[in-house]
Symmetry: C2
Subunit: 288 residues, 2 copies
């Protein structure tokens, strides 16, 4: 398949490599050209602009920072007019559900199909080709994209346009609240004289088992808050969830609101550490 891949950052880079390794005719574009060079060496075409990249594409994949950047690259650069009618745009960036719905509608007017397909799993899963991919859009367009998505992870169509982004917000809500609850649990155990590392080990395999207890609890125990998952990004996602819920008339997302409040306190005091730094905020709220 002729595929254009726009955005070769920490996530997009390894994802595009999996697509290329899958034997597809790949054209790449990245804002800073240096990141495209390794792809040229492996046989990909390097485009000078988004519009040039998408001109002959059957599938256009985006992996960009946020909604406004997707807007600029897709619509502000003239790329939208260059995409062949009938092609499918798969936007794997994490943006607002309402933005994804807007993009789908505008591309649809030109006969270009849209699938929102944000991911979870971080750079480790991007590199391993094991991302959780949450897709929204029409079944036919998803079916066309799915064999390519499968090179990057496991994709599930969860609903209509925007539903993939909504599922990503649901994902972020669970991840944030689980980090907070694990931090609260380890702090309570430690203050009561238990060894947090042993508690983590003891809890594994029981009902408290989670990826967060595996990865993030270890960071808390090591007090290693070097940023892998950004608090600022996570807070943005939680605020987007509260905003999206508000638009649906949902008044009460108490776990989301609590976690957003803790992130706000953490960011005010500590800048932008790893999101497992919620422990620091809970420690602050419980002075010795």
């Amino acid at each position: 398949m002729r595929i254009a891949f726009l955005g070769l950052g920490l996530m997009g880079g390894p994802m595009a490599r999996h697509v290329l390794a899958g034997g597809h005719a790949l054209t790449v574009w990245n804002r800073s050209a240096a990141k495209s060079a390794p792809f040229a060496e492996r046989g990909a075409t390097v485009a000078a602009s988004p519009a040039e990249a998408v001109r002959e594409a059957e599938l256009v994949i985006l992996m960009l920072e946020n909604g406004p950047i997707v807007e600029a690259v897709l619509f502000g650069s003239g790329a939208d007019a260059a995409i062949p009618p009938g092609a499918v745009v798969v936007d794997m960036s994490s943006i607002k559900p309402a933005e994804a719905q807007d993009h789908a509608a505008r591309l649809g007017q030109r006969g270009v199909r849209h699938v929102d397909a944000p991911v979870s799993g971080g750079t480790t899963a991007a590199e391993g080709g094991t991302l959780a991919i949450m897709a929204g859009g029409e079944a036919e367009a998803f079916a066309l994209a799915e064999p390519v998505l499968r090179l990057m992870g496991r994709a599930v169509l969860v609903g209509p346009h925007g539903a993939g982004q909504l599922a990503k917000l649901a994902n972020q809500l669970i991840v944030g609240a689980t980090i907070g609850a694990v931090a609260e649990a380890l702090l309570m155990a430690e203050r009561g004289g238990a060894d947090p590392a042993k508690v983590r080990e003891a809890l594994r395999g029981g009902f408290a088992e989670s990826r967060i207890l595996d990865l993030h609890a270890q960071r808390m125990i090591d007090r290693d808050f070097a940023t892998r998952g950004r608090c600022v990004t996570h807070l943005k996602d939680l605020d987007n969830a509260l905003d999206a819920a508000g638009r649906m008339g949902m008044a009460a997302l108490p776990y989301t609101a609590l976690t957003a409040d803790l992130y706000r306190g953490l960011i005010a005091a500590d800048g932008d550490p790893d999101h497992s730094g919620l422990l620091l905020e809970l420690e602050r709220r419980n002075p010795r």
Copy 2:
């Protein structure tokens, strides 16, 4: 090893069967004698009272409902005076950390050692011999009990007397908050037009992965709130966590307090459904 096992209920029954299958000389006691009969058929000795059960034990295992019942069976029945000095009491019941510390101190005066070792994983893990066992006490007593505990699951010594119970409360805090967050996420996704079953499927393998997303999310999707994990028990554990934290001077356990508040609302409206019923309470707080 000569082992006495007191309490053959939904959890204790399968746990005692694993101990018997491990080749130990087992004496069992249960409040209602009917549950002892199958053990007699398999070669265990059935005792008529707790005191009779423990008389020659090197290891005494308790699996009872709560702290007051442990108090009654262990101290109110004269069993404590019948346990040979040097023996180890392993209390696998879920009781308050302060109660476990009290029991350890009182037994210690008679030269009987105490390990608190509550479990997580429910009846499935009890039957499979795959419980997560959180132990508190002295290393030597734990080392003596550990080969027997291993027949029932995986045991980790997390700290001094009471620390196992504290770890269990930490476990319950994480489990409750994760159930709440998963319910909130699925509700938001559903209200936004996504298919909750597909969202659960899409999220699996990402950072939101957990035992709760596996088991409890499925119950929410099936709207199957038949009680496997009781809300009333879970709320009792959360209140015990808040109480224990208060004794340590911890003012803020916000995830625990939020989850306890939701359980209180749920119990007031719906009685005592499965703890995955937190979805019902969140639905009520977000009328359509």
